[in-house]
């Protein structure tokens, strides 16, 4: 179960400095998407990129703080990313949609606030579906395309980075390898 080691809490200076940078990339991504008038939020690219580069704690903290700052509410989205971009997409989508739904139910009577999603909500409730299902589908319908594209973009950017950055930030490597070469995570 080597992949479980990825979740051990390990945060060195590089990881700490990376968190605000991921937040900044989140915002820049969103700003660029708005500037290009694309019909998506794309406000989580930095979070996911941070998760790919440096593991779930950096990604999670960055995502958490981005949400804190942008919405003014506390939205407990922990984004954990195993490798493989389909996995990333499905996981983010599940976490984002499941994480947001209770919040939506508590604050917004189950609505997501996006007209297209809320229209689905309306239809479902009138068809006598329980509120929480309607709320989830509402949120999910909005999150599905957004998180898919976000994950895709993040992975594309990661592939476009020079190799040494990928090694440098890799906080979730197992400790010292056989040769005694110290991995940066030990710093």
């Amino acid at each position: 179960m080597a992949w479980l080691s990825a979740f051990k809490f390990r945060l060195n200076t590089l990881g700490i400095v990376l968190i605000p940078v991921c937040i900044a990339i989140d915002w820049a991504g969103h700003a660029i998407a708005s500037g290009l008038r694309l019909p998506l939020f794309l406000d989580s690219i930095g979070t996911i990129l941070g998760g790919i580069l440096a593991g779930p704690w950096v990604g999670g903290l960055a995502g958490f703080i981005t949400n804190l700052i942008s919405s003014g509410t506390i939205d407990p989205i922990w984004q954990r990313q195993p490798r493989g971009w389909i996995g990333i997409w499905i996981l983010c989508f599940l976490v984002a949609s499941i994480g947001s739904t209770p919040l939506n139910i508590g604050l917004y009577q189950g609505q997501s606030g996006i007209p297209f999603g809320d229209a689905i909500y309306t239809a479902l409730v009138n068809a006598h579906f329980p509120t929480w299902i309607a709320a989830y589908v509402d949120e999910a319908a909005v999150d599905l395309p957004d998180k898919l594209i976000t994950a895709l973009v993040a992975v594309l950017i990661y592939q476009g980075l020079p190799r040494r950055y990928r090694a440098l930030f890799r906080l979730y490597q197992p400790d010292d390898d056989a040769e005694g070469e110290r991995s940066p995570a030990r710093a």
Binding site: I19, A24, W27, A28, I32, R37
Partner: protein, 259 residues
């Protein structure tokens, strides 16, 4: 050059001078009460109290200006959707083809909108009267690790800077022939060429910054002494505890069915 991200509005009202944790407690308790209290007069009462605090801090007009853009669409959407589609709907006010506007849903939607308005007012009250640096400092004096204080302080500065950088990259890429107008696929193709340079330079900077911080002693586990005094008082401490207790009491009362 962009400065730190903050809504702070200069001023010298008692609210501005209050300790950041007092204001944070006030905001969180107001939000708590707004969602715990069950009837609309009580929720409205919280809202009125917040509005008068906003006025006392001299930021009421600023708030109304900013909040209108946020709250009007939310209210309309909530009122509309809930009146059409809430499980408690019974009494029809206005039939609309296959759907109908119901009184119960309308009430529920408007009450939800009122709560959100309270939340927004409370959050803005905090943001307008508190310098982010003061909040970070207050938290660190109370024991927040300086490493996480750093994350907050750095995020607040780095976000506006990165937005500026994004603009500069856009201008540079456009000068090189990148198309940012036109049909959707063309605009979508411009996304990565606009974001990638920013990510690359940000990562280089991250490595160098982390090295420079280490060399200056970042992350040492020593007690962090106060950088500057943020005035606090017994009265404020009492107020903070009082507010927290009020919320707990309201919650207990609600759970017991007294409210």
């Amino acid at each position: 050059m962009a400065r730190g991200l903050s809504l702070y509005a200069e001023g010298s009202s008692p609210l501005h001078r209050a300790h950041p944790l007092t204001k944070a407690t006030l905001t969180l308790c107001a939000i708590g009460l707004a969602f715990i209290l069950p009837s609309w007069p009580l929720v409205l009462g919280v809202g009125v109290a917040l509005l008068s605090l906003l006025a006392a801090a001299g930021v009421l007009r600023r708030f109304l200006f900013v909040a209108a853009g946020l709250l009007v669409p939310i209210t309309l959407l909530l009122a509309l959707v809930q009146s059409l589609a809430n499980p408690h709907n019974q009494t029809v006010i206005l039939p609309l083809g296959p759907l109908a506007v119901h009184r119960e849903g309308l009430y529920i939607g408007l009450l939800a909108a009122l709560r959100i308005a309270d939340l927004v007012a409370a959050t803005f009250l905090f943001s307008f009267t508190t310098r982010p640096a003061d909040l970070a400092e207050a938290l660190m004096q109370r024991g927040l690790s300086p490493r996480f204080g750093y994350v907050i302080q750095s995020a607040l500065q780095i976000i506006p800077q990165s937005l500026e950088t994004a603009d500069r990259i856009r201008d540079a890429q456009r000068a090189r022939g990148l198309e940012t107008e036109g049909p959707l696929p063309r605009r979508a193709r411009a996304f990565i060429p606009l974001l990638l340079p920013l990510v690359l330079s940000a990562l280089v900077a991250t490595q160098e910054r982390a090295m420079a911080l280490e060399v200056r002693g970042f992350g040492l586990k020593v007690g962090r002494l106060a950088r500057y005094r943020i005035p606090d008082s017994l009265g404020q401490r009492v107020l903070r505890w009082g507010l927290a207790l009020a919320v707990v009491a309201a919650l207990a009362a609600r759970l017991r069915g007294w409210l």
